[in-house]
């Protein structure tokens, strides 16, 4: 009947969500009989859940949807260049480089469909070959792999992105999280790969530039 040793927040949530084993559930239930404070938490958790789950799904209007789909840029840098520049994602000599890349990607567009699961890299490689290495500036700034804006993809690792940044910082590599949640590191691909060697694969894309 003692109310000290309250179950943790996580345990109370698990109780409400029915995620506890039978024994643990029984322990919490006995505590709740004796503890008004925790019983109040449980009631609020249930009431909050009920209110949220009664919220109806919301629908975009047909007009909004059509407008959004129509506004998607072409997926090559010519059209999206202003986006990249606005977000500060391109670094050195962006206009000349991207204009050159845009022209090349445009000409290779019809070749899409090689069964490759990494189209970005494939296109950029095609671009490099077609250009005969004529775009040294691009290679210098991005490594020419996935050269649209973010740099070269090193690996996709488990998140959260902030932890990836910290892991890189611990190895002396500066990095930041961009707006889509990718990590952009300043350094060589080899260093970054080594720094993240122990990290399992996951959703966070790590780029170097």
């Amino acid at each position: 009947m003692m109310a000290e040793q309250h179950p943790s927040e996580v345990t109370l949530l698990s109780y409400v969500e029915d995620d506890l084993t039978t024994g643990a559930r029984q322990d919490v239930a006995e505590h709740l009989v004796a503890c008004r404070e925790c019983a109040g938490h449980v009631r609020r958790l249930e009431a909050g859940r009920a209110a949220l789950r009664s919220a109806p799904p919301l629908e975009l209007s047909d007009e909004s949807r059509a407008r959004m789909l129509a506004s998607l840029p072409d997926r090559h840098p010519r059209r999206s260049l202003s986006d990249y520049v606005r977000r500060g994602l391109l670094i050195a000599a962006p206009v000349a480089v991207a204009a050159g890349l845009a022209a090349v990607v445009f000409t290779t567009d019809p070749q899409f469909g090689g069964g490759d699961d990494d189209e970005g890299a494939a296109v950029a490689e095609d671009a490099g070959e077609a250009e005969g290495g004529g775009d040294a500036q691009m290679e210098q700034s991005t490594g020419a792999a996935d050269a649209t804006a973010l740099g070269t993809l090193v690996r996709n690792v488990a998140g959260p992105a902030s932890a990836v940044v910290n892991a890189l910082a611990a190895e002396g590599i500066d990095a930041e999280v961009d707006e889509s949640g990718s990590v952009i590191a300043q350094g060589t691909a080899a260093d970054v790969r080594a720094a993240l060697e122990d990290r399992p694969s996951g959703i966070v894309a790590v780029y170097v530039r």
Binding site: V10, A51, E59, M68, L72, P160, S180, G202
Partner: protein, 179 residues
């Protein structure tokens, strides 16, 4: 494994039709997420539009380690977050409810009491409860989307639901009325 895998593969190659079908599959949840987090239909439409552009451009780099939906909703969380400070400085867009009666979707206006209670929550709590209780995402998915540990997600759900219930005044009377 990921029900979207086939369409994602095609969309990555630049197939807009495949991308539109992915959008059709997820737009309701993307929009519901943004609207509940931002408290405004107009802002939500902007957030979803921005998210779709980012998703379309970033799709070639999506490797499929997480489900496509997790990746997509994470972008919506980010675009919604990015939109908030800007909108705060623009008072004309504040407090979008109640609906303009000329809006043909007025009948779908964000349900007043719940949305007001949601708006009053800390943004991180609000995102957590909307993702978990309204969209039905798992703790692990929410952790990936919001960049925090699962334990933090659970704590945010605990606090978000609790505060929400207090603001809605539903659970409180039962527990504290007979002091």
């Amino acid at each position: 494994m990921d029900p979207d895998e086939e369409l994602v593969r095609r969309a990555k190659k630049g197939d807009r039709f495949a991308f539109e079908r992915l959008v059709a599959e997820h737009e309701q949840r993307m929009y519901t997420l943004a609207a509940r987090v931002l408290g405004s239909r107009e802002d939500a439409a902007d957030a979803v539009q921005e998210a779709l552009v980012r998703a379309w451009l970033a799709l070639p780099r999506f490797r499929g380690e997480a489900r496509f939906s997790t990746w997509l909703y994470r972008i919506v969380v980010n675009t919604s977050h990015d939109l908030r400070p800007k909108r705060r400085e623009a008072p004309t867009d504040e407090l979008p409810e109640p609906a303009d009666p000329r809006d043909r979707f007025a009948e779908q206006e964000l349900s007043g009491e719940l949305q007001r209670a949601l708006n009053a929550l800390d943004e991180t709590y609000r995102a957590a409860v909307v993702l978990y209780d309204v969209l039905g995402c798992s703790y692990a998915e929410i952790a990936e989307m919001t960049g925090v540990a699962e334990g933090t997600v659970k704590s945010r759900i605990f606090r978000g639901r609790g505060e929400l219930a207090e603001r809605l005044g539903t659970a409180v009377q039962e527990t504290e009325s007979n002091e």
